[in-house]
Symmetry: D2
Subunit: 398 residues, 4 copies
């Protein structure tokens, strides 16, 4: 039950969230050293969080003798380099999302850490939100039957650092920044063994003066026949919209993680302080969350990561998952260009998944399309003629 | 201000809703005769609504001397025939949605009524719901800037009559039944002069033993660059999900027409009576609407139709709109086959629409990508380098 | 089906809502003359609504030869005078809420119109909202068993005209302005034959520089044992909060009429125009209603009034109801002074109502307090010992 | 950062929640021994949670040499005895709510532990929910101005053990079981230094065959003028309704802790497993919470308790708070008998609180009652005449 000593790489918003979690609800772990490319930001960060050391040398942070775990909160273009360095140093690695800028890079990362034999975890926090975790368990228990459709939506007015907006450094735009969350949430609901077969994407740059897409809608067809759908945007107005919807043959689940969680507040603007990530204003009707790092999944995520590390098991979110996500995003970018469905090119480690089951009931040999109870107690059947396939009504006494 | 005498063609659920509206909130009009292919259903309908005459002869109903308006609530495959007959009789025609089974049929209908010079209206009730009407006016006034994205969703457990499920009679499945609503709602928000350029569709038959699709997701790209997106399903569990979302450069609108309208009820199952269209159960948590025909737009729709008729103007929803909707659905079906974006083939009567405007602000000649106020009062700019396009941060005193 | 000719007395906000309804959804009636104490306001009002005549003589308006119905939208202190004048003129009278400033005045009004034998209706719009009407019908059908508790809440930042704030002219403060709505809504749910027995009230002037109360919470005990509870405030921030909650032995109903009706909008503030009654701002997250006069009950109210007049029956809301409401408010004001429960002094025309029924089930002669199914399938009974009344658990196989 | 060894007294639902928290999110503490009056329940509990020892001797559990903290989850009538025993043993004590059955008992408990000089904490979980904690901080920062009114509501279909229903063992009914939560939540919002002056209560036994009240509504007047209001019920249908509303001079806060937290699910009833506390059914529309022990405040509560213990400071919820709560409940029971406002009899340790501030603005010497901007840009003032107090309108150019 002893804690871990962490080297935190990166001092952006995500580094703050990670450290807030480690030093807060987790409590038993400690960030021993922080790395930033900027001396100023490193110093501010270490003061903000009471971290003993800060450095502008990535190597020094990673190879720090006290450190057993490297947490990577760096821009995407620095993931491969930092992971390789940490793997060489034999440290456990937890890397932020997305794992890489494309599947080829992700695959090199995966090969590297697997040959190094170290513990790794993919920091996909939104797969760990309390609502998602409970809903995924509920779906797995059969509560909504076979999943037919999943919608995951993440939109806000745009990220807080320049590199996100730079297509080269990030590997893309809103799809890479936000879509990686959505894809993994969708996979949790459709089942991780359910292969993402092909992808259709619309992406456009509607508002901002950038080369990357600021809006996209992407469809993912899974082997079971289920459809995943995600919408990402850097032009949404009104805060951060973070919702999931799941349809199954026996039920429905709607999750709202941010703007409508049972906390509603109107203020004329007095008072002080941070309300929540990416809120657009500090007066009028506001919709904070109660425990932001809890609701966004950070607490449960680090618990799973360190518990798995301590137990010697795989965490729920792995580098392989990160690689699959990159492969889906690659297909999305290809589809946005070719304007047709594109296959997901991935070394698949999951198994085969059956088609969503149709159990057809019959009446006099005709398949029952629908059955309704009429107000007068009679039973109405809509039947598919066994010979012609044309559909007709039959009404019979209850 | 005198009312109209109506021939009601068809006695299905839609005929009930129409007559409930005409004899209820409208009050001043009267259904003088009802036509049904079935003597039994015609008689029951006429008794239910106090209609003086019923007949199994479509012609008799249409040419009834008292009748000045023919309201068509028949299955899709009977629209062309009944419209032609009413046009020849010189009666005003109000036709339920969709106008036809495909754009070719819709175009023949359009040509027919235009050459007959009669008044016609397209009974697209969901374009008339009080929320949609107010939101469309709000968008038109500029309240959310340029529209970038519209989602319209209509899903339920499936329709109540056999012909809906029969691909030949209906012209398709869930897209034809539900998507026609969504397309027109989307057009109201993107602007009716904003040409739907091309369509990408996923459609599948996941659950029911039918040839038509029971689930579909369709993307529509408009001339302005805005994206329309609709989801339709006949396999949704939990009632009827009827929602719209609109994103604009300056705002957001979310409408929920059915399951979450501020009316929540838990019951152990006592009491009696109809709660709302397509609710799945009569106990547990239920979400009725207050004024169902009002909320679904029927009241405002017939007001607009008869007011327009009396004034000699066009109603807000015209047969031409119905034809455009059919053209979009045709493109969706083609796309589901070809698996690529398909152009919308339509005789376009709208004008040209400009691309969503980007007003780029600059700082030292570099385009401002984003501007943020930091907690310490300083201003952070994310700038796009005017020469290289790479993006960098600048922090300056407030 | 011919419409009525109306004399509208008063040109405040309520006069606008009334005329908007009569000239809008009602359509078939016409305001023939409007009376205002101010020439300027009368002229503006008549121009705004296309009314042929306006006058500063109340008598002239009431006795106008075309007019058969007088609609009173005047300040409370002018109700008795105007009703008496209209009664003498033999016109039908529809009077806004509250009927009078206290029960004595209400009783004089009631006696006057009853001896005149004219048609009268009490314009309590909130008893007619589509949600309330449907929920009341649902309760009457037994859907939630016996009603045990009703909460009605109406709060906003304060009324728009000076006389409301003046204790003498209005007869009180927030209780008179808003509580009259709540009391009648509560009565609709507990049953109009269920006598309001006694009242306990807290009232205070917390914020505004006025003599009348700007906040109050009032409890009403009914003969059945049910409790009514209402909260009124002129200091609420965030718009107009208009909610009802009903608890029954077999169910629960929650109604939200204004701020959360399935219409949500974020705007940076562009666009124009009226959004909804008593919204506090025009940017940020706003919660309009779709059809405001419909949602607030005006449409259904005038339909019931004129239909009842035409049929020669009583409307759902009568002057007697208004008198009962005044009697309850009187008891509330007395209670706020005496700081104890005060009886409702009213000439009761309803009958007797039974106490909420307790059907006690027993087990071995002991009353069953609660019964639960345990996760392992066993049945847990909490029993009240038939001799001692002490309560004990028994667990038995399912 | 080392954990604590806990003796858990009691094996009811609350013992499960406490142990789930200690062994779950807390992680670093351990229940070393559990006490139950029943050998069977003690054994089952110790197996359920992997607790090394269980005993039917309260003394043995409390004086267990490994144990430094005694957590009391026993019925109310056993609090005083067990606290005295633990105080004598010099152990830290954390006691569930309510502290005692009445204020006299609570005062004896308080005197006992204060003379023993041990660490104590009052386990009022609902004061620690993430939403409440954040909202309380927001109110304290001035975000909604001066608090004028707080509503706290806790209702469900009734508790799970016999002793709750037994007036003698519990000290009362729904007020003692649920009202203790509400009172403390209200105090957190009005300010703990804001003295509860007097109380007015309605209580009745409407449905269950018990001597205690199954429904109550209670008003609490605070020294500042603010009103607290709570509603408790053991007859609510539909799950557990747990809501708070706070009104301030500059804003509004609405919290929903249970039935509407952004997690909505419809199921035909398949699947398995526990959904949430006091849900009434397992099919239809269900509203689970994500992280139940987090949302109900258990996690943050134990963190504060152990952190305070480790730091040697007072926790946020103290035995003194528990005593105040008992004093308010005593006043409520007296008021339900005497039917008038009853003073709260308590040894007050808080200070004095000022009356809610009214900052009156004036115009020409008259107090401004309200100020509105008219649509035409003019400014409308409602003024209170400085001499007569009568209120009049003035309209001036913007």
């Amino acid at each position: 039950m002893n804690g871990h000593k962490v080297a935190m790489l990166g001092t952006g918003l995500i580094g703050d969230f990670y450290t807030m979690t480690l030093h807060g609800p987790r409590g038993r772990d400690e960030v021993a050293v922080v790395y930033s490319r900027s001396e100023e930001r490193g110093q501010a960060f270490s003061e903000r969080w009471g971290i003993p050391e800060h450095t502008t040398s990535m190597e020094k942070a990673i190879t720090h003798p006290d450190v057993d775990v490297v947490v990577i909160g760096l821009p995407n273009f620095l993931h491969e380099e930092s992971i390789a360095m940490a793997a060489d140093a034999g440290k456990a690695i937890l890397c932020t999302k997305p794992l890489a800028r494309d599947a080829a890079e992700a695959k090199r990362i995966l090969d590297k850490v697997e040959s190094a034999g170290i513990f790794t975890g993919y920091l996909e926090d939104l797969a760990y939100t309390p609502k998602t975790a409970k809903a995924v368990a509920s779906v797995a228990s059969g509560a909504i039957g076979d999943v037919t459709w999943v919608r995951s939506r993440e939109t806000h007015p745009g990220p807080h650092s320049a590199w996100f907006w730079d297509k080269e450094k990030a590997g893309g735009g809103a799809i890479v920044d936000l879509g990686c969350h959505c894809i993994e949430v969708i996979r949790c609901f459709t089942g991780k063994g359910n292969r993402p077969v092909e992808v259709m994407a619309w992406a456009d740059t509607l508002v901002h003066p950038i080369a990357a897409e600021d809006n996209a809608v992407v469809l993912i067809r899974f082997e079971s026949g289920a459809l995943g759908q995600f919408e990402v945007s850097w032009t949404f107005r009104g805060g951060m919209d973070l919702r999931d919807e799941v349809a199954g043959t026996e039920g429905t689940i709607w999750l709202n993680h941010f703007l409508r969680t049972g906390y509603e507040m109107y203020t004329t603007g007095g008072g002080e302080g941070y309300v929540a990530e990416k809120l657009e204003s500090t007066e009028g009707w506001l919709f904070p969350v109660g425990d932001e790092i809890g609701e966004l999944g950070y607490t449960a995520m680090f618990n799973d990561m360190f518990d798995s590390m301590d137990r010697g098991t795989e965490p729920r979110e792995t580098f392989y998952d990160g690689y699959v996500v990159n492969a889906v995003m690659d297909a999305a970018y290809r589809s946005a260009e070719t304007r047709q469905w594109e296959p997901v090119e991935v070394e698949w480690r999951g198994g085969k998944t059956e088609r969503i089951s149709k159990t057809i009931k019959t009446h006099d040999g005709h398949a029952i399309v629908k059955e309704e109870l009429l107000p007068d107690g009679r039973r109405k059947l809509m039947l598919s003629d066994k010979n012609t396939g044309s559909i007709f009504d039959v009404v019979s006494p209850g």
